[in-house]
Structure formats: C-alpha cells, structure tokens
C-alpha cells in the first residue's frame, strides 16, 4: 500500500470514527458512499474537512466530490493530483 493511500485510509477511519476498522480492511476500489463503506452526506462533510486539514486539498463542490469519493483509490489520486508541493 502506498504511503499516501495508507494516510488517506487512516484519515477516513479517524474522521468517521470507524472504530475497530484497520486500513487493511478498507477496500481500495469499493465506493465510499452507498455500497462499499456506506457513508452518507454528513460523512462527506467530515471527509471534506479532514482532507483539507490533513492534506491541504480543497474539494470545492459536489462535482469534485463525485470524482474524489468514487473509491479510496480515486481519493488518493485526487489528493496526489491537487496537493501543493
């Protein structure tokens, strides 16, 4: 697992208080919302704030969120692409 992906998973687990879950148990390809992790809109706001705080990357609107929250892999790619060097 890449270092960034591991940090993304740790952030998700911490911000959403997915207690008892380890990064290994979070599927890279599963969607974050609906099926997969089954997150809701409140979780989405928490993730947006967590991503901003931890990675200094802003998810500006719902269109960006749709793209970023497709899966853990998509979110990791989104952060890598938008992170300021």
């Amino acid at each position: 697992m890449s270092d960034l992906k591991l940090r993304v998973k740790e952030m998700i687990i911490e911000r959403l208080k997915l207690e008892g879950m380890t990064p290994d148990q979070v599927d890279d390809a599963a969607p974050l919302f609906g099926e997969g992790l089954g997150l809701d809109s409140i979780d989405a706001l928490e993730l947006v704030l967590g991503i901003e705080q931890v990675f200094n990357v802003k998810i500006e609107d719902e269109a960006a969120g749709m793209k970023a929250f497709k899966s853990v892999q998509a979110l990791t790619d989104f952060i890598a692409e938008h992170a300021k060097a």
Binding site: I42, L45, L49
Partner: protein, 135 residues
C-alpha cells in the same frame, strides 16, 4: 440588528434568540438570549432548581446559526443534522444573559458545520459542533 422574526421561522414559545449582537455573514454570528423565570420549561426542569436544559442550549446555538446565512435563507429554517462533541460545563439559570457565538467551520453539499459556544459573563457554559442542513 432587528427583525429577528423575519429572519427565523421560529415563534413563541420556541424562538430562543432575542438579539443579534454581531454578524459577519457566512463567517460568524453572536446572538443573545435572556433567560427569564417565566419560560415554561423551567417550571418542570426543575421545580426546586430551575435551570435551562442542555439540549435547549444546543437549540439556541442552532437558531443563532440560522443568521449566518440569513440573506440566502430568506427566513427558511435550517435543520439539525448532527451534534458532535457537545460539552455542558455549567448550567444556565433564570436571569442569565447568554451569549451565543457561532462560527462557520465548513460546508459541503448543502450541509454546514458550525462551531458554537454559549457563555455567560465570560464563563463557558456549553461548546458543541452542529451539523445543519438547509432545505
């Protein structure tokens, strides 16, 4: 600022904000609530020792939060979607002048996160994060 009824749909006996003291739209609101001994809930909470229920302090913060985006809400309600990390450090009593301070802490897809603090004479009574949704 006047015109609270025009900016908030809540009415007696559930309008829990008396005055807006400071306001930076979309950023921060400071409101005020005077707790009077005639408030109906104090009769039963508690007969010998009237104090404001903690959940009503949260409601006061949520109502104050309605003024953050007053221009775009046009008097519509915002609804509570969640409460996080609520702490009640000291009770509020009849006669207290409560200062309700609410700051915008983030927004995404119609949900707002608010950081709220209730103080009385510089004593912190309650802090909480509120998640509110505009419909």
């Amino acid at each position: 600022m006047t015109g609270i009824p025009a900016q908030l749909p809540h009415r007696y006996p559930f309008l829990l904000v008396d005055r807006i003291l400071e306001r930076e739209p979309g950023v921060r609101v400071v409101a005020e609530k005077l707790v009077t001994s005639s408030e109906s809930y104090l009769q039963g909470h508690f007969p010998d020792r009237p104090l404001v229920p903690g959940v009503l302090l949260l409601e006061m913060l949520a109502q104050a939060g309605g003024f953050l985006e007053a221009e775009s809400l046009h008097g519509a309600a915002i609804f509570l979607a969640g409460v996080q990390d609520a702490r009640f450090r000291a009770p509020a009593f009849p006669g207290d002048r409560l200062r309700l301070e609410v700051r915008a802490a983030g927004a995404f897809a119609g949900l707002l996160k608010l950081a709220g603090t209730v103080t009385c004479e510089d004593r912190e009574l309650c802090t909480a994060s509120l998640l509110v949704k505009r419909l």
